[in-house]
């Protein structure tokens, strides 16, 4: 796993973005950018250069699930690893995210250990 990879963190709450950024830094990932919802995230993703997307689900403007679907529909972003970090805990929503092609799903509140475990697993699979 490349520790210099560029990670986009998308959440409408700035506190959560800071928490995730700090946890990522603790795990050795310092190259992070932020967006506050899908609408601001998508242009950043389309510009290219993002290696990993960590997104919330429930956001104004464009929700995380729609951002995920938009990525999968875009030839250049179809393979982008996406980790969803969300308070949405409905079974049907988790299934919807899985069907949309999410690579990992973390429910809030979560621990630093969970974040590490899921990221390791995602990049282990991708190789």
């Amino acid at each position: 796993m490349n520790k210099d990879m560029k990670i986009l963190v998308v959440d409408d709450f700035s506190t959560m973005r800071r928490i995730i950024k700090n946890l990522l830094r603790d795990l050795g990932f310092t190259n992070t950018v932020e967006a506050d919802d899908g609408l601001t995230a998508l242009p950043i993703l389309k510009q290219g250069g993002i290696d990993f997307l960590v997104t919330d689900w429930n956001m104004p403007g464009m929700e995380g699930i729609d951002l995920l679907k938009a990525c999968r529909a875009d030839a250049k972003l179809a393979k982008l690893p996406v980790l969803m970090v969300t308070a949405e805990q409905k079974r049907e929503q988790i299934i919807e995210a899985a069907q949309a092609g999410v690579n990992g799903y973390i429910v809030k509140p979560f621990t630093a250990a969970t974040l590490k475990e899921k990221i390791d697993k995602i990049f282990e699979r991708i190789g």
Binding site: R18, N58, E63, Q89, K90, I94, P109
Partner: protein
């Protein structure tokens, strides 16, 4: 037009009444007075009857609007649970943060004290006032201090990470509070609707159409809206998972 005809009729009757009064015809005066009073009473009763009927319909409409009953019975109770949840979450976060700080401060104090002692010995050394046995002691103290500093640094980092994680309450409670704000807006809209029904008691039919539309819109929104954080006593346990382990189980059952 109708009003002016009645007025002309009234004026005629009153003029006749006045003439009879002037000529001292008590019987005819009484007949016309009775006639006038009865006509006034009939119109008053008709108006009262209409008002009663309208009010009755307005109230039936009000109690028949399930959205209002839902707001009162379910959503307000939900809001109470949600706000309790916010209080609990914020208190937990505050407690957790303060505990970590209380554990960190003594570590800082001990580091400050040790480094002050070392500084004194070090200054003695630089002034070349130190004896051989004192130097051996200083050398051992420096080694101990470095080991402790290393260990304390790790411990402080752990405490600070705990403080960082404790701030996740803001995101969770923020989402819950947004939901309660939405509820307050719904209640406000329902109250405005009641006021409209009461004040425009003639247009009950129009209002009930509006309520149906509102209801359809709300049903549509309810279907697409997200549930947000699981709140004890509010969320449906069967439809939601209770934590990361269940998420992992569900995903692995889907081949993840």
């Amino acid at each position: 037009m109708a009003d002016s005809l009645i007025d002309e009729h009234l004026i005629q009757r009153i003029e006749t009444l006045l003439n009879h009064a002037k000529s001292g015809d008590d019987d005819k005066v009484n007949i016309i007075l009775d006639e006038l009073t009865t006509s006034r009473e009939t119109s008053l009763y008709k108006q009262l009857g209409k008002l009663t009927r309208d009010l009755h319909e307005a109230f039936s409409d009000f109690t028949g609007d399930t959205r209002i009953a839902e707001l009162a019975n379910i959503d307000i109770k939900d809001a109470r649970e949600r706000l309790h949840f916010v209080v609990t979450k914020t208190q937990q976060a505050a407690d957790l943060t303060m505990t970590q700080i209380e554990m960190s401060i003594p570590i800082c104090e001990s580091m400050i004290n040790s480094s002050k002692e070392l500084e004194q010995s070090w200054l003695k050394l630089t002034r070349k006032e130190m004896k051989a046995n004192e130097f051996r002691e200083l050398s051992k103290n420096v080694k101990d201090f470095l080991e402790t500093a290393n260990k304390n640094g790790e411990t402080l980092k752990t405490h600070l990470n705990e403080v960082l994680m404790a701030q996740d309450f803001q995101d969770i409670t923020g989402q819950v509070i947004f939901k309660v704000i939405k509820l307050v807006e719904d209640v406000e809209a329902a109250l405005v609707n009641i006021v409209t029904i009461a004040s425009e008691h003639l247009s009950v039919d129009g209002n009930s159409d509006e309520t149906e539309q509102d209801k359809a819109e709300k049903d549509r929104q309810a279907k697409t809206s997200l549930d947000g954080p699981v709140v004890p006593g509010v969320s449906n346990a069967k439809e939601t998972v209770s934590g990361q382990d269940e998420v992992d189980d569900l995903l692995s059952s889907l081949g993840f």
